[in-house]
Symmetry: C2
Subunit: 365 residues, 2 copies
């Protein structure tokens, strides 16, 4: 193999692939990148067996071939070279890198030993604006369960329904749902559960430039096709919980308030919350009071005067869950809806129906 | 005590004092800040028994008094309030904070239990531009020894000699020296060794605005007097090593080269260095070659063509020490001077004599 390409192009592509590589002691080839010539370009691939990423770098192919080499040092070395022509060649499983007066020789491993990243050749389920998808996923990804004890909620739900793409995540304590309306040109119906780690990686590599992304379904695999590369991931098997039934539609107490003011009050209350992170919302006499108390440190009280409709109420939350919800709403005014101190509360933008956050209350200590 | 002040002023002063507070379980009052009214202002103090910091916030004193309260939560709470008037009052060892609709009540401890931060009333040894001092200290502080097994080199040397302030630090593997010429208006002679932690804290709180800083010597203590506050620290007892004798004055091999090129080559070589971080400099046939080798990863080679005078040479260094030295030199061209593979090398700006870095070579594996 012998390839000549520009440092900047190569570096950009390495930025896309290298992040999924950890330190794998049982299968050392997973610490490597696969470099191979393909269709007149240099293809670079990485996999952690759950996620695979391919990218292609333009350049001059002087000799076809394939090799793998340690990802971390290849990335570090290439990233620190000047933005000039780089020559990459292979000699007896060694990768030789030359750039101006800098040279390196990396011990590689044969390309044949590299795990196969599945190829998916189905038609696209959906083609969507990448920056829109990035923003939508960012708003919900944090609500998925970290533990894999219930695998189906450790992933993000992609629900294709009519022309819309509905994205949802929950860890059973809170739920986030985002709808991208008219995402598909033709009506379809399909449910996928995609691992949280895959979505975090997808968010990382999606640019904000608004290029189109294709979502393609294979056999237990999903492919996100970006202009710069491909991300292929396993799908989580299972039935996503029917979360619609826990979302309250009517409220006995509801209000609209300034996001910044609420965010600030919850943050301040968080400093005084106890070990279970509990803070208390008290709706009384047309005011919302947010209080918290730590027996060692002291207590705190914020008094807000939003537009309130309905009954007085006391309800306790884990303040972190409320902060997570508020931080993912981009509008200035927030709607809060409650029923009782034991029923889930709804947080959403005061206007619009494309984002919804549901938080379960906690019992006070 | 009852004080009214502006959030922004208070927050700025808390930024100065709060950093030295850790988590002290044996003496809990060290987790607290001392708040006291003094000369029509609110004085805030923190100490870790080695370093003490005082700041003063302007405001309206409605009632004189003093109290201590937990630093971390006080800082977090105040920092997150809006930039409005804050009222701080004391009731039975509780600190009450009010700002618009936000209220908190912090459990305090009596001011009498707070350790005394010594007052130093001597005349200043030196009055110096704060931004100049900050830059100079930044260039050398990292070279001091982390371990306290030899306490005298765990600190930074402040040597007042004639009209100059000489700053030096070493961990016996490398040495950094910076001279601030004509720092003093009158000639003086004095040596102080100040703990590295104190200097790191001083660097943090020195602004880049160029205000004057006074250095005042007390009884085993030194006081840095800034416009916004005071930093008081213990001095390290002991004799600083006579490092001048190890600095070579003449060289059998010397060269001038571009800082960026050298920095890049050393950084690239670092990726391939072995466990002892060793990289090799080879001076041969009018060129400088920098090489490194890791049996598992591979090897690397950079070829530089600086202006070289003198003999051929091979010499090994810990690349981190070379990077540290280069990163603290701000000029484009670098002077390198060597004698043999066992003698210390000198790195300094090609022009000027106010900064000097000496690195001991290591034996190759």
């Amino acid at each position: 193999m012998k390839v000549i390409c520009l440092q900047e192009n190569l570096k950009n592509n390495l930025n896309i692939v290298q992040n999924i590589i950890g330190r794998n002691l049982t299968l050392p080839i997973l610490n490597n990148l696969l470099l191979e010539t393909e269709g007149g370009r240099l293809k670079i691939s990485a996999t952690n067996l759950e996620i695979g990423i391919n990218t292609w770098t333009s350049g001059k192919i002087e000799k076809e071939g394939a090799i793998t080499c340690p990802a971390k040092i290849f990335y570090n070395f290439i990233s620190n070279l000047p933005n000039k022509k780089i020559e990459i060649s292979v000699k007896e499983n060694n990768v030789l890198i030359k750039c101006e007066n800098y040279k390196a020789n990396l011990r590689g491993l044969p390309a044949d030993d590299f795990p196969i990243i599945p190829k998916i050749k189905e038609p696209a389920l959906l083609e969507i604006d990448g920056s829109k998808l990035k923003e939508a996923l960012t708003q919900i990804v944090g609500a998925a369960a970290i533990s894999e004890s219930r695998p189906e909620i450790s992933g993000i739900l992609f629900k294709f329904e009519k022309n819309n793409l509905i994205l949802a995540a929950t860890d059973s304590f809170r739920l986030a749902e985002k709808i991208i309306f008219n995402a598909a040109s033709k009506s379809s119906s399909q449910n996928l559960i995609i691992p949280q780690r895959t979505i975090q990686e997808l968010i990382r590599i999606l640019s904000e430039k608004g290029e189109k992304v294709k979502i393609i379904l294979g056999n237990n695999q999903v492919l996100f096709e970006l202009p710069d590369g491909q991300l292929i991931s396993r799908i989580i098997d299972g039935q996503y919980p029917d979360y619609q039934q826990i979302i309250p539609k009517d409220f006995t107490t509801q209000m609209v308030l300034e996001k910044e003011e609420l965010l600030n009050s919850v943050r301040l209350a968080g400093f005084f919350s106890s070990k279970i992170n509990d803070i208390k919302f008290i709706v009384k006499s047309g005011k919302l009071e947010i209080i918290s108390h730590d027996p060692d440190l002291g207590e705190n009280r914020s008094l807000l005067a939003p537009k309130i409709k309905g009954k007085d109420l006391e309800i306790n939350f884990n303040y972190r869950y409320i902060l997570d919800g508020l931080n993912n709403i981009f509008s200035q005014k927030i709607f809060l809806g409650f029923n009782s101190s034991a029923q889930p509360a709804v947080i959403r933008p005061a206007e619009g129906n494309d984002y919804l956050y549901v938080a379960m209350p906690i019992k006070s200590v």
